[in-house]
């Protein structure tokens, strides 16, 4: 496969053809913030955190879905991008009930990390404070919708990796919720294999192991990519 040479934040970077800007940047040691992206899953370009500036393009482009091209000039961290990313993270904090102080995922949460990395010291927008449900009908796992950011990583992990499609999204707009089967309590979702991939895929404390307390969540998002890579090896 042909190599492509491009510039990312002024650094000359060599990338494989077909690779995304996100992958190329990461190999060059440049971190672009993401939330809906997870190694091993398909890209949806929904969180808009990885938007970058491209010379010659008026529109901002998602790094996760934009393939590298010869001579491309990418800027990943301009003041405009940093401001937009802060605003997006703030909008998420304002949307539901993200209370790190009482969250199982505190210390292992991508949203919490994003706030720190992007310099979100406070949220400018009104907290919407919707009343969400907590479903602990499953014997091993639970889901607290207050903490869900609708990244759909659980939906994709369940569909693409586990292959059962227990999860999907119901409703629309800010009223959208991830659901299991016909919106039955998780514990009654007969398609669920209890594999736990959704738990590993979840970036926040929305999906958790039952019995874990504040900041006790143990999970490994890398598991998804491992499974996907291992599956390519057939015997």
């Amino acid at each position: 496969m042909a190599a492509k040479t491009l510039t990312i934040d002024g650094t000359l970077v060599s990338a494989r053809e077909g690779e995304s800007i996100l992958e190329a940047a990461r190999e060059a040691g440049i971190t672009i913030p993401t939330l809906c992206h997870l190694d091993g899953l398909s890209e949806v370009g929904a969180c808009r955190l990885c938007l970058v500036e491209l010379t010659g393009s008026r529109r901002l482009q998602p790094a996760c879905l934009t393939p590298v091209a010869e001579g491309m000039e990418v800027r990943t961290s301009t003041e405009r991008l940093r401001e937009h990313r802060r605003a997006i993270v703030e909008l998420l904090f304002a949307e539901r009930g993200h209370v790190c102080a009482v969250c199982v995922a505190s210390g292992a949460c991508e949203l919490q990390d994003l706030a720190a990395r992007l310099g979100v010291t406070h949220v400018r927008y009104d907290y919407l404070a919707p009343a969400c449900t907590v479903d602990i009908s499953h014997p091993r796992f639970g889901i607290d919708h207050h903490r869900c950011v609708l990244c759909t990583r659980c939906v994709r992990a369940c569909d693409e990796v586990e292959g059962v499609h227990t999860w999907d999204v119901a409703g629309r707009g800010t009223a959208a919720r991830v659901i299991t089967d016909l919106h039955v309590p998780w514990g009654q979702a007969t398609s669920c294999t209890s594999c736990g991939k959704c738990l590993h895929a979840c970036p926040t404390g929305a999906i958790f192991q039952r019995g874990s307390s504040v900041a006790e969540l143990k999970r490994d998002p890398g598991v998804i990519a491992l499974v996907v890579a291992a599956r390519k090896e057939r015997w």
Partner: protein
């Protein structure tokens, strides 16, 4: 001749006092601090009225009732720099967990009657406890705030870093290590 001491206030609104505990965790540095500031108002001091001409006010807690609302307005008016200290002041945090449950009246009904004693009633009439606001708000939703130090509570070293910068008349450090909700 030494510089005039900076007039420091600390305020405790709708919070658990954990942020103040964290402040006290600064241990011997507090002695150093005392040499440079004059503590003019604080739950750990004796003053009952918020004084005029405060240089720096550290505010812990969210705005949850009428008393908080009145006090924060006064604090803002009389303070040059206002710092939201800790998650309750910055986000509403645990104090704001009641917001999804509805208005103050509906929450009191749920707590005292629906989930409490079905024959009970919501206490009314006395002026001892200030009336709850319908929604718990972070401080900056009510008055302008100059700097923010999240954390539940913010660890003592972070409080010290912010205070040192402010005492030196510099903006507080905004590195990722300084920002951690929870």
């Amino acid at each position: 001749m030494t510089a005039p001491k900076l007039r420091l206030a600390t305020v405790w609104l709708g919070g658990c006092s954990g942020c103040h505990m964290s402040l006290l965790d600064l241990d011997e540095w507090l002695i150093e601090l005392a040499a440079r500031v004059e503590l003019v108002f604080s739950p750990i001091a004796d003053t009952k009225r918020f004084p005029e001409s405060v240089d720096l006010a550290l505010v812990e807690g969210a705005i949850a009732n009428e008393e908080h609302l009145a006090l924060i307005t006064l604090v803002r008016r009389r303070s040059r720099v206002l710092l939201s200290l800790g998650d309750c002041a910055v986000t509403g945090n645990v104090t704001a967990l009641r917001n999804p449950l509805g208005t103050a009246a509906s929450i009191l009904q749920q707590i005292y009657v629906d989930h409490g004693d079905p024959r009970g009633h919501v206490p009314t009439g006395s002026a001892i406890v200030p009336a709850l606001l319908d929604r718990v708000l972070p401080v900056h939703a009510v008055v302008p705030v100059d700097c923010f130090l999240p954390g539940c509570p913010p660890p003592a070293p972070r409080i010290r870093a912010v205070l040192e910068a402010l005492l030196a008349g510099e903006p507080p450090p905004a590195t990722p290590e300084m920002i951690r909700f929870g």
